[in-house]
């Protein structure tokens, strides 16, 4: 078994100022296997991948490729040595054709025979069963196809090691299956695949082995059959955790007064981002959710509530009183907070410290001419770093150097500090680890039991079922149903999302 190892990493160390990101980590990838790399955010998965692909120079340890010790100097070098990476975000050029993307930077000489390249690209796409034409513009293909093209490029470069970093997070169920088929094909061809994901189901569907990291250290390497799901989770967390299904407390839900004046009420709210006018209300202590497929308008709806995009019309009432919400600051002043879907683009202010990121919203509400004193800001930051157990070297650490889950906690802290009556959380659990996911869901329910109203959006339906007491279902920019009580089950929700025939 050992002699078929295509990649061996021994005693890998990587340090960042004040942090030991990797400490003596071993990792072995065998020929023709799909190997899951698991761990919470900040466990060191990304760092290990980046060391392997030459993005970061390693500070200690050895890497062996097919028995030969190698030193990987740069991402280019890694590619030449047969290590290919496909990232979560597509790193190809959308304005070029599929074939151009597959061969860019790999042609020799100043002249290129594009006809020949197109035909060989076509052959490879056929062989791998990727439904794309070589001459098609990449930008016109779906995300899944784009990802597969990236993989095809890697395969054609004779890669021995293929790294897939969260490839499935923006794919739907069908597309995921297509990707898995492709992965299995490659596996049969002898390619070693490292698969990084947060979806446990997917790990058990395609992987052969699992390596678990925690706090920059190796926990262990396991054959998939020997490691049941619960054990995997407890290995990742380093503790046994209570069953997630039990976190909702029905007693709290019964306390909600649905006949009282809603905390927030929208009548005929019209956005400018392609959603139909809709009515919506939420009561004190209620957790509701917007659900629907990607692009159904669920995010656009909550953005309209917050005034994040231009609002074209409709009436908004806060505690029964009519108010105007035209921009985010209006919403914030009326006690509404909004945690945006895209953490990197809309949430964090990357170079600013954790402290500045936490106080930002409250500071803006307080006003331009009334800055918090340094001591006050430090107190706030300390309080929330403790409350949400945010893992950071210090308050002054730039937020961008935190792991995804901890960044999300900082943004949550920001909005909790603003002390809203109505909190909108758009995909707060996306791309973060199981442990933090559970923490956030528990926090949501705790806040609701304290009398806050919360809108919780998630792509994972079971997460919504666990936390929400009412679901607004959307399709094609329209609200197509509202589910509560016994209707809150997977089948009913699916049916409502898919077609309106359920009664």
């Amino acid at each position: 078994m050992k002699d078929s190892a295509v990649l061996e990493m021994r005693g890998i160390c990587k340090f960042f100022p004040g942090v030991r990101a990797l400490e003596n980590v071993d990792f072995t990838l065998r020929e023709g296997e799909i190997h899951a790399l698991m761990g919470e955010n900040g466990a060191g998965k990304s760092t290990l991948i980046k060391v392997l692909t030459g993005v970061y120079p390693k500070d200690g340890g050895d890497v062996t490729l097919s028995g030969q010790p190698v030193h990987i100097k740069s991402p280019q070098d890694a590619q030449n040595k047969g290590i290919a990476t496909v990232y979560q975000e597509i790193t190809l050029c959308p304005n070029l054709t599929v074939a151009e993307n597959m061969y860019i930077g790999r042609t020799s000489g100043p002249f290129t025979n594009w006809n020949k390249i197109n035909s060989s690209a076509g052959k490879l796409l056929d062989e791998l069963g990727i439904p794309a034409l070589p001459t098609e513009q990449l930008g016109n293909c779906s995300i899944a196809i784009q990802q597969m093209v990236a993989i095809a490029r890697a395969v054609d470069m004779d890669c021995k090691v293929l790294i897939l970093d969260e490839p499935t997070s923006s794919l739907d169920e069908q597309e995921v299956q297509k990707l898995f088929n492709l992965m299995r094909d490659l596996k049969a061809k002898g390619v070693g695949i490292i698969f990084v994901t947060h979806f446990l189901e997917q790990v058990y569907e395609v992987c052969d082995r699992i390596t678990v990291l925690r706090d920059g250290k190796l926990v262990g390497e396991y054959v998939i059959e020997d490691l049941p799901r619960v054990q995997l989770v407890s290995k990742m967390l380093g503790k046994d955790f209570d069953d997630m299904a039990e976190i909702k407390n029905d007693a709290d839900i019964e306390k909600i007064d649905y006949n009282g004046v809603p905390v927030y009420q929208a009548i005929n709210l019209t956005g400018t981002t392609g959603i139909k006018p809709f009515d919506f209300e939420i009561h004190k202590g209620e957790v509701n959710g917007f659900t629907g497929l990607l692009g159904s308008g669920r995010s656009e709806s909550v953005r309209a509530i917050f005034g994040a995009d231009r609002v074209a019309g409709g009436t908004v009432k806060i505690d029964g009183k009519e108010v105007k919400i035209r921009k985010p600051l209006d919403a914030m002043k009326h006690g509404i907070s909004y945690l945006p879907e895209d953490r990197k683009l809309d949430g964090i202010v990357g170079d600013l410290s954790v402290r500045d990121n936490i106080i930002l919203a409250l500071q803006v509400m307080k006003g331009f001419f009334k800055p918090f004193s340094r001591a006050q800001a430090e107190k706030f930051a300390d309080e929330y770093i403790k409350l949400l157990s945010i893992k950071t070297a210090s308050q002054d650490t730039p937020i961008k150097s935190l792991s995804g889950g901890n960044q999300q906690k900082v943004i949550l802290a920001r909005w909790l500090l603003a002390n809203p009556q109505y909190l909108i959380l758009d995909e707060p659990t996306r791309g973060i680890d199981v442990g933090t996911k559970v923490e956030i869901q528990k926090l949501v329910l705790k806040l609701a039991s304290e009398g806050k109203s919360i809108t919780f959006i998630s792509s994972e339906i079971d997460e919504m079922i666990r936390t929400c007491s009412r679901l607004v279902v959307m399709r094609d920019g329209k609200v197509v149903g509202e589910l509560k009580g016994d209707d809150l089950n997977q089948n009913k929700i699916m049916a409502t999302i898919a077609g309106g025939e359920s009664k």
Partner: protein
């Protein structure tokens, strides 16, 4: 958390040194020190300061150091505004030289209409009016630049190219392209010396500007807002900040800085040459921001560092002028060489090399520790 304590506990000389290197003030301070040492060696009398009577009979301080601090005034004031614009908009204003010409021309337009020996109170009133008008005009031109950048989303360098090209013509047009020379001696006080005070007036004006901006940063959220907007405008907006207004605001502040510079400039010579006044000062101002270690792509900024950067540039210019063997036309080339060196030393690449070197050493230590444990 044993790892934390380990990392923190080595508060040794090495750690202290590392901290200094990472500090933004490191490069400008090193550059200043090098210039001082260089000048001390090549000419021990370089830093001599003397109190001597000037041509008008007043006792004034003279010496290279005084010249540097005096001549750097406009650059320092501009660097303040340029730093803020850079932070919020992620670009630079290249029209400041031309708008200084406009500001100076505006001042002269008012002042030239008065007889040279009007009584003191009337003179003061005229100066105040001319200065206020100059501030308003410069702020409006700043707002014009800012509006192009904030509302029309034009890249700052392209947007300010308009006034860069047109500014000096506008300045000439304000005074019908007349050659103006103000004969009232009192007008020269602001760019030279006030009788009885041995320190050049621009130095006081600079100090005043620095104090004002320090107070503004302390008592408003300008720093937090412009940094957030510069780093991530989209999330700033979702946190209730209006990125457009902040960008506009920084351009208006730069406009006010330009007004002060224009006023000092025309007062220095009591006259104006539209095509020459404050020539190429925009490049020095941008350089000051860069030398201060500020990211020209926007975001985090350090004003102290920019101000020091401005003094470094003036120091360098004066030092080069001191060398008689250097032809004055080739000074720019010498300046460029020094600047390239400074920029390379402060580049992320060199900083990363130092960082990597430190990490390697720490890794070796950690490995040794593990080895000991096993043994």
């Amino acid at each position: 958390m044993t790892t934390d304590t380990k990392v923190q506990s080595k508060g040794s000389a090495g750690e202290f040194f590392g901290k200094i290197i990472r500090n933004q003030l490191f490069i400008p301070i090193v550059a200043l020190t090098l210039l001082v040492i260089f000048n001390l060696i090549s000419d021990p009398g370089f830093f001599k300061i003397a109190l001597e009577p000037s041509s008008t009979g007043n006792l004034i301080l003279s010496g290279n150091l005084i010249t540097i601090i005096d001549n750097a005034s406009e650059l320092v004031i501009l660097a303040i505004g340029m730093t803020l614009v850079t932070s919020a908009s992620g670009g630079q204003d290249i029209s400041v030289g031309a708008t200084i010409a406009i500001a100076g021309s505006t001042v002269l337009r008012i002042v030239k209409g008065y007889a040279p020996d009007i009584p003191g109170s009337q003179f003061a009133g005229m100066i105040i009016v001319s200065f206020l008008l100059c501030v308003v005009v410069s702020a409006l031109f700043g707002a014009f630049n800012g509006a192009l950048v904030a509302f029309f989303k034009i890249q700052p360098m392209v947007a300010t190219l308009i006034l860069f090209t047109a500014g000096r013509s506008i300045a000439a047009w304000i005074n019908n392209n007349d050659n103006i020379s103000i004969n009232d001696k009192r007008f020269g006080y602001f760019g030279n010396f006030i009788p009885g005070i041995p320190v050049p007036t621009p130095v006081f004006i600079t100090i005043f500007c620095i104090i004002v901006i320090a107070l503004v940063l302390k008592f408003t959220n300008l720093r937090l807002y412009s940094q957030s907007v510069g780093i991530n405008a989209s999330s700033s907006r979702l946190n209730g900040i209006n990125p457009k207004m902040i960008k506009l605001l920084t351009f208006v502040i730069l406009g006010v800085c330009v007004a002060v510079c224009g006023f000092i400039k025309v007062s220095r010579t009591s006259s104006i040459t539209y095509s020459v006044i404050a020539n190429n000062i925009e490049m020095d101002a941008i350089l000051a921001v860069a030398l201060g270690g500020n990211n020209l792509g926007g975001g985090k900024f350090n004003l102290t560092s920019s101000v020091l950067g401005a003094y470094v540039i003036q120091f360098l210019t004066t030092t080069l002028y001191k060398f008689k063997e250097i032809d004055s036309s080739s000074i720019s080339a010498y300046k460029a060489v020094v600047v390239i060196l400074l920029i390379i030393i402060s580049s992320p690449f060199v900083r990363k090399l130092i960082e990597d070197f430190k990490n390697k050493r720490e890794a070796a230590k950690a490995e040794a520790a593990v080895g000991k444990e096993k043994a």
